[in-house]
Amino acid sequence: MTAAAPLESVEIEALVTDRYLDALLAAAERRAPDAPTDPSLDPALRRAALRLRDELVRVHPSFRFEERLARRLAEAAAGMRLAVAAGGEGAILPFPGAATAPHGDDPTKADPFDDALGDARPSTARPLPRRPLLVGGAVTSAALSLAGAAFVAWRLTRGAPTDPMARAVRLARLARDGSPVDLH
């Protein structure tokens, strides 16, 4: 009885069976009825293998089903392309020029704005946090944020605003800082 046999013996028998199956399935490609085998292989196993090869048929899905699923997959694929285009998913890409940035070889660790800051950044300033750039919809929001930051910086460097509301805000800010208030 195989179940009671030592494990090593089972593995050896299994190896012989496996080699026969390899030969048998290869023989089917040549339309050969059988394949040569190790004489130690049990003839009952050989007969069972022959029957399984001949009688386990392949089935094919219906044409209608195949085409319906193809259409569904095409729709899903189109949805995925739209999602990528809209920034739903994206790839982390190195920012142009980042390969030469002084952050080692990993382009995703380089700060893409180092070059843009150039000498204007004080030497004592802490390095900006390293961050990857998600290409897609994030670019748009990042660009808007930069524009907003630039606008605020520009306004802070300007003189007294002419707009009454802006003047009121500026006065309130100066009062909070404890600076003398100049109404003119």
């Binding site: 195989t2 089972v10 593995e11 028998e13 299994a14 190896l15 069976t17 496996d18 199956l21 390899d22 399935l25 290869a26 490609e29 049990d42 009952a44 196993l45 007969r47 069972a48 293998a49 022959l50 029957r51 399984l52 090869r53 009688e55 386990l56 048929v57 392949r58 089935v59 094919h60 899905p61 219906s62 089903f65 195949e66 699923l69 193809a70 569904r72 997959l73 095409a74 899903a76 694929a77 189109a78 995925m80 392309r81």
Partner: protein
């Protein structure tokens, strides 16, 4: 036929020969553009359907599993990588093996669902085949065969291994990848399955 090294290139990686996935170019094209997944679908739809049908014994259930398998594969394709751990044969990390592993999980989920409602057996499929439906008649004859029935009676992984070996003509290494077992374990599974089928057929006087 895949899985036997035919038509595969080979490259050396970390001291061992790694056969390239014959579907590598199709996979990369589909990863770049999901619309090109269709080529992989056309190539493997019958195989996935076959595995599902032999596992579940019902065309409708097999269609459900096939659909779920390909939709999942399409969604997860970007994460597919040809990566064979050192203790796994390289041919077990192909797209085909990955896909059939998804199918195996889909079948397992379908089985859990089917437990909650009546199951149509393979025998019942044969009985309900319409006489004017040649395809179903052929299937009915196949279903009714003693060998078919003997395989259907095999326990889980033995049955799966037999179907993958004889119907899909997968190598032992590929089956190991699908079932998540070692090659040695798969060889023993197949050997014991054959012995059970041989005994079953012998007891029923079916041995030719």
């Amino acid at each position: 036929m895949f899985g036997r090294g035919k038509g595969s290139e080979a490259t050396g990686t970390a001291g061992r020969v790694v056969p390239l996935d014959p579907d590598r170019s199709l996979v990369r094209a589909a990863q770049a553009d999901p619309a090109r997944f269709d080529a992989l679908y056309r190539k493997y739809v019958a195989q996935v359907y076959n595995v599902a049908y032999h596992e579940l014994g019902d065309h409708h259930e097999a269609e459900d599993v096939t659909e779920r398998t390909f939709l999942h594969a399409l969604g997860a394709l970007a994460r597919f990588r040809e990566e064979a751990p050192d203790d796994v044969a390289p041919e077990a990390s192909t797209f085909r093996v990955w896909l059939l592993r998804i199918a195996r999980n889909a079948v397992a989920n379908q089985r859990r669902t089917l437990r909650r409602r009546p199951v149509t057996t393979l025998d019942a499929v044969g009985e309900t085949a319409a006489p004017d439906d040649p395809e179903r008649s052929v299937l009915a004859r196949a279903d009714a065969s003693a060998a078919w029935a003997a395989v259907a009676r095999l326990p889980g992984d033995r049955r799966r291994a037999v179907v993958l070996r004889f119907v899909e003509e997968m190598s032992t290494a590929e089956i190991a990848g699908v079932l998540g077992r070692s090659e040695g374990a798969v060889r023993v599974l197949l050997h014991r399955a054959l012995r059970t089928v041989a005994r079953d057929l012998g007891e029923r006087g079916e041995t030719r």
